[in-house]
Symmetry: C2
Subunit: 344 residues, 2 copies
DNA sequence: TTGTATGCGTTATCAT
DNA sequence: ATGATAACGCATACAA
């Protein structure tokens, strides 16, 4: 009789619904109902069952539950990269932290996946039918996003917006952030020779920051000092390299607006290596407010993006979409804040 | 007949084993065997089935597979904390990155969980029977570790060792790292007045670093300058506070060895605020080689711990334990390296 | 070499 | 108010 556990085994097995049912002399249906608060069970019965379940330390098997309900309670956190840093990335990490907190609060779990092309995304690297939804943080090609729509997997896209009816997009207000940095530099500090260091101008966030850079020149009627300097990656070393190139020009800027803190920190380093003072000779501003920004010397002026809030909003929106599949997507903007420190 | 899919539905359902079976006129067992390379199927049949599966873009449902095999292919990454930073933590993040890479390589997935007490760990915060094993990174109470053993869940513990037969422990060689920092300070730089800033001396990693600090004094026959300064947390602010207290003593040290880079960076900041020079007046060394350590001014001398390697080793060992449940636990030591930069 | 039947632990449907 | 039973999609022991 397979329903009777083999008690010769020394190892204690997890308690199942049917174990409780047997001990209580009821069917597993009743136990199931009692435990999930269905009204279709006598209060007295429920009380006894819950007591027993508690006593036996019963925990439902989440896999079986997922099978039956077609909901796993798992959210995929996707990073479109083929090598680290994944979560150690200064942006992804805090976003994921917010997501973890929010997910836990709503009884969801987060599973990680890194893939660098469409194939991988929906192949062995990915828990196909086991996630209720996904959030993607890095810069995915549009086709990937479309593919999610096709497969009807609820999706939240962070820091990127493409044409889509169903998906939700969460973005930091890059235009507002970059504008306030520029206004601080121009209006409060009187700079007119500001150079911009950027990375991939195809990335929406970065192109918007650059646009704000240009627009603020127009608004305050000052000529653009130079073409933007484009780093290959947004790394400390690249920040150094870019700044060294800038320092070799005859006409030096009085301020640098880097599209990320990491680049800004590199730039600052290069300036100081040259024996120049930050901010007296050249002011430096970044964007993101990464941990190192507050610990640098001088401490870096930057835009604080509430990355945790981005993660929380993403999970919240995702769970809404999971609950109501008819819900249409939308664009959620997260605020940011100018943090004036010592570098400007 | 329930086996026939309702084709009135516009939405395309995922392909199942039985769908392929029907189209091929065989049973789903044969399809299952063919797909997983069982020898119990004619080569010709297998070829046809695999072709069809490929054509229909079949992907096994991982939940169902997990139910049937009792293996989910999911590894839990546990952090014993009740608030962020979780993965944004300067140590956990890179460890997780290594784990992600290694897990992907071996066809596993990683699910995240944060809990701050035993209850939570095995309660709603945790995918009970859905993980094949777990790795824990922060400083868990021993009871939690024992509980895993009791439940026969393969476990790898990082940076902490307790008495246990089954579990595997992965540790950075703290003694070696801290000793090399101290020898650098004493032998190469000639310091004799070295103060130590630490956090929780109950944490194995930290207590070992402190022990090395003491031992090196003995070995080089110099008196210990002072009691260690104990920060409440390992934060930049606490580093500043501790250093300020140190700077208020009449007798100043000529070097500071902080148990973490974050504390060291704070200490450096406090020293510079006081108008003193690092390293001329007071040298500063940290431990961990976090990202900010290379970007500080002056750049921080520290111990580089290959945190990615820790994560990779953890996953590798975990998967071995999962495959061979008889395997006994062991202790794996990861090497580290002295990085001499400008702060000493 | 292939098919049939059963189990995995739930939830959900249909009886009673 | 409760029980019996069928899904969920796969793997596998047992038959043929």
């Amino acid at each position: 009789m397979s329903l009777l556990r083999d008690f010769h085994e020394e190892m204690e097995m997890p308690v199942r619904l049917i174990d409780i049912a047997h001990l209580m002399g009821v069917s597993k249906s009743t136990v199931s109902r009692a435990l999930q608060g269905s009204p279709r069970v006598k209060e007295e019965t429920r009380r006894l069952i819950m007591e027993k379940a508690r006593e036996m330390n019963y925990r439902p098997n989440s896999l079986a539950k997922a099978m039956a309900t077609k909901k796993s309670g798992i959210i995929g956190f996707l990073m479109y990269r083929k090598s680290p840093p994944y979560v150690a990335h200064t942006f992804f990490g805090p976003v994921l932290d917010g997501a973890i907190a929010q997910a836990a609060e709503q009884g969801y779990h987060i599973i990680l996946a890194a893939a660098d092309d469409i194939e991988n995304t929906f192949d062995e690297y990915f828990i196909q039918d086991s996630i209720d939804g996904a959030m993607i943080v890095s810069f995915y090609p549009n086709e990937v996003i479309k593919e999610f729509e096709k497969r009807k997997i609820p999706l939240v896209v962070i820091n990127n917006v493409v044409d889509s009816k169903k998906n939700t997009f969460i973005i930091d207000d890059n235009y507002r952030g970059a504008s306030s940095i520029m206004e601080h530099l121009i209006k409060e500090r009187g700079h007119t020779k500001i150079v911009h260091i950027n990375e991939d101008l195809n990335h929406p966030s970065f192109s918007i920051r650059y646009r704000a850079y240009l627009d603020m020149h127009k608004r305050y009627n000052i000529p653009v000092f130079s073409e933007p300097y484009r780093a290959k990656h947004t790394t400390f070393q690249e920040g150094i390299s870019m700044m060294q190139r800038i320092l070799h020009q005859r006409d030096l800027p009085t301020a640098v607006f880097a599209a990320t803190d990491t680049l800004a920190l590199g730039a600052m380093h290069a300036i100081q290596q040259e024996g120049l003072n930050v901010p007296k000779d050249i002011a430096v501003a970044g964007y993101d407010d990464i941990e190192a920004a507050a610990m640098s010397n001088p401490a870096l002026t930057t835009i604080a993006v509430d990355r945790g809030e981005i993660g929380r909003a993403a999970v919240q929106s995702l769970i809404q979409q999971i609950a109501d599949s008819e819900k249409t997507g939308r664009i959620i903007t997260i605020n940011n804040q100018l943090i004036i420190r010592e570098s400007t």
